[in-house]
């Protein structure tokens, strides 16, 4: 009996120790298949491959469509792809750097254009890929560092004032021609007509990324049609040599912003909304305009009536000069870049990733996924499909007429979060009648000086 007890206690100790090692063992075995799949990625399509790649998606609106595209890709090539979404409210850089630190970097990462230089030594050089020659002029600029193409642009997006033409015409009782709104006074008159009919003229998107990255970027971009002058303005802000209250664009911006706040839907509690609810206000006719970009069309589709397709983009008019730069243009540019990691992914995974990027813009299924399912404006020529939604078509008319302003890609990583927060505070204060332009200007100048 004593031997039995001794034997049992030994078995128990070994079992307990084994559970400790179990965690280590399983990690080793899953890392092996990726390396044993040597040379199998270029095998005949539809043959099941052992290569598995991951895709970090930072565009929340297209997650479902991206997963469908991944399935179509797997059906054609046998390579499995897992879509990893970024948590809402975080920047792609945060999630990507956290994944790198934990050793699980994605094979393909989708980041914002201003994040591309930070990953220079971690991503593949894609200058020799087929799609480089198919890109639209200027589309590869943001994703290139030192002449090497490091990222593939996903789409060109534009943002401005989305206007529901039908709501405006019903409220004002007359046909609405977007080109008639060119000055602040025009805008004020239009707002007056709409609010007289009981409809809120505008809904300000209170999300910090909308206020900080998009709305406020007009203050930088509208400075000049010369990108070098815009860059100088940003650099001067950083050096602390700009007094915003003396800057005409900023003063005009504040005037328009105040007008929007005074006519904001739900201005009693302006911050109590969620981004997902706001398209409902436009489709139900409770608000007439919304400052947002064409990426938001999937959110409209969920709530829009089948015949309600009459949306058009208006420029954000600043000041009373109809010919001022920015009063007939909307901002458009490449908004998301896709890069392939070379540090933590095996050569086979890198090849598979290159194959996916190629498939996305040259194959029929891939082009359909981008233009029709995800409703994105492609950054490449030779697409057999074009997005059919009114927002994308409105952006395309501005693009074709040359009436666009380039996006600015050199803002600091936390600009959207910090400036967005400052603007939210101003939004809440001004809605209660206590907003102060001087304080706002000072807070923004302080942020720039401390960057």
């Amino acid at each position: 009996m004593k031997n039995m007890k001794k034997w049992m206690s030994l078995v128990l100790i070994v079992a307990l120790f084994a559970t400790l090692l179990a965690g280590c063992a399983s990690q080793a075995t899953t890392a092996a298949p990726a390396e044993t799949a040597a040379g199998e990625t270029t095998a005949a399509p539809a043959a099941k491959s052992d290569v598995k790649i991951t895709f970090l998606n930072s565009k929340g609106e297209i997650t479902a469509q991206l997963e469908e595209a991944a399935k179509a890709f797997t059906a054609e090539t046998g390579i499995e792809m897992e879509i990893i979404p970024c948590p809402a409210g975080t920047s792609p850089f945060e999630t990507a750097s956290a994944m790198y630190s934990s050793g699980s970097a994605p094979s393909i990462l989708m980041v914002d254009p201003n994040d591309v230089p930070k990953f220079t030594d971690k991503v593949l050089d894609l200058s020799q890929e087929n799609w480089v020659s198919l890109a639209m002029p200027g589309a590869l600029d943001a994703g290139s560092v030192d002449g090497k193409v490091l990222a593939m642009p996903l789409t060109v997006e534009g943002y401005g004032v989305i206007a529901n033409k039908k709501t405006i015409e019903t409220a004002s009782g007359a046909a609405f021609d977007p080109s008639t709104v060119k000055t602040y006074s025009d805008l004020e008159t239009l707002y007056g007509k709409i609010s007289a009919a009981g409809v809120a003229p505008v809904k300000i998107c209170q999300e910090n990324w909308s206020l900080g990255a998009h709305l406020f970027s007009q203050v930088y971009i509208n400075q000049s049609s010369d990108p070098a002058a815009v860059q100088k303005f940003v650099d001067d802000l950083k050096a602390g040599s700009v007094k915003l209250m003396d800057n005409k664009v900023f003063v005009d911006f504040m005037k328009t912003f105040d007008l929007m706040i005074a006519n904001n839907y739900g201005k009693a509690d302006p911050l109590n909304f969620r981004y997902e609810e706001e398209p409902l206000l436009l489709t139900s006719g409770q608000a007439a305009m919304w400052y947002q970009g064409n990426w938001t069309w999937p959110n409209f589709v969920d709530s829009a009536a089948a015949d309600d397709m009459d949306y058009v983009f208006l420029p954000l008019v600043l000041g009373d000069d109809a010919n001022a730069y920015g009063n007939s243009q909307i901002i458009a540019g490449v908004s998301k870049e896709m890069m392939i990691d070379k540090e933590q992914n095996s050569p086979e995974q890198q090849e598979a990733a290159k194959q996916f990027l190629n498939w996305l813009v040259t194959s029929d299924a891939g082009q359909k996924a981008i233009a029709v399912d995800m409703k994105l404006i492609p950054a490449f020529t030779g697409f057999a499909y074009a997005p059919e939604d009114p927002l994308a078509r409105s952006i395309l008319t501005y693009l074709e007429a040359g009436n666009t302003m380039p996006t600015i890609a050199t803002l600091p990583a936390d600009h959207w979060e910090k400036i967005g927060g400052i603007l939210q505070k101003y939004l809440a204060e001004q809605s209660a009648g206590k907003g102060n332009h001087e304080t706002l200007a000072q807070e923004i100048e302080t942020y720039w000086k401390n960057t």
């Binding site: 120790f17 302006p270 600091p412 990583a413 939210q424």
Partner: protein, 293 residues
């Protein structure tokens, strides 16, 4: 059983403690040391080159107004939360050890919020504050709830306190119940025979004898409230325009969002030292209150 040599005693110690010690060293100590090294560089979290900058990051911590603002906000929050958690937990525990019917089921019920986890709690209460309460307030015409508590900086602070108290009262209640169950009933009987009212019994017998539970409960709630992040993020991502951003969230944002890992790590180190100091002082003074049963 008694080993004669030091070598034997160390060997016995290692047989039992080695796995845990190894895990503790690799998961906690090694990153801490590496982190201290990082505080003296200007790494941005991703690039492959980093430069040694000495104690510049530590000086930056003193100059970072946002860090100190969020730190003092966290202090206010901790003070209010710890007091409320302990009071609520004590009252619930007192009620649930008085022998009413179904008290065991009720104990389980009060403990459940703690099991939900901070993120789910945050989203749950975010929904309650932004949709349910304004609906009730509008229906009953009760001005306190008419607007979303989470969009006003002061009310958002109290919203955060409410969620924290709701989350941790159950857990601390268990600790108090354990303490109260250990009070020898003959003491209480003797007191009531001698003519003690319920209030005097509580004040002179129950309270002194549950001081160990009080020490543990205060320590745990202090430590957890200081390091709050999940509820802070899930409830309202640091409040309307960052007004309820607690210090852990500020450190995370400084390190990963602003990409200043060295400074963020230096702030985290400061935080660690200050929390250790506060909880150490709390334990020291609490030990003095302990009374022998």
């Amino acid at each position: 059983m008694y080993e004669k040599t030091l070598k034997d005693r160390v060997a016995t110690f290692l047989i039992f403690a080695a796995p845990t010690l190894f895990i503790f060293a690799t998961v906690m100590i090694a990153p801490l040391v590496f982190g201290i090294y990082l505080t003296m560089t200007d790494w941005d979290g991703l690039s492959n080159n980093l430069n040694f900058v000495g104690i510049q990051n530590y000086l930056g911590v003193f100059q970072d107004a946002e860090f100190w603002q969020s730190f003092f906000l966290t202090l206010r929050y901790v003070l209010v939360s710890v007091v409320l958690i302990n009071i609520v937990a004590f009252l619930i525990a007192y009620a649930l050890t008085s022998g009413i019917r179904g008290q065991n089921a009720m104990r389980a019920g009060f403990f459940t919020p703690n099991l939900l986890g901070g993120v789910i709690l945050g989203y749950l209460w975010s929904f309650v504050f932004s949709k349910v309460l304004p609906f009730v307030g509008a229906g009953l015409n009760w001005s306190l709830f008419k607007s979303n508590w989470l969009t006003d900086p002061d009310k958002a602070f109290w919203a955060l306190v409410i969620v924290t108290v709701w989350q941790y009262s159950g857990y601390m209640m268990i600790i108090y119940v354990a303490g109260m169950s250990n009070i020898p009933t003959d003491l209480l009987e003797a007191a009531s025979i001698d003519g003690c009212h319920a209030w005097h019994r509580t004040r002179y017998i129950v309270l002194p004898l549950i001081v160990p539970s009080f020490v543990v409960s205060t320590f745990l709630s202090l430590q957890r409230c200081f390091m709050i992040y999940d509820v802070n993020f899930a409830l309202n991502k640091g409040g309307p325009y960052n007004s309820t951003r607690m210090v852990a969230m500020h450190v995370y944002q400084k390190a990963f969002l602003s990409q200043k890992l060295g400074e963020g790590q230096a702030e985290a180190l400061f935080l660690f030292i200050m929390i250790a100091a506060v909880t150490g002082v709390q334990l020291y003074f609490s030990k003095k209150l302990e009374v022998e049963g």
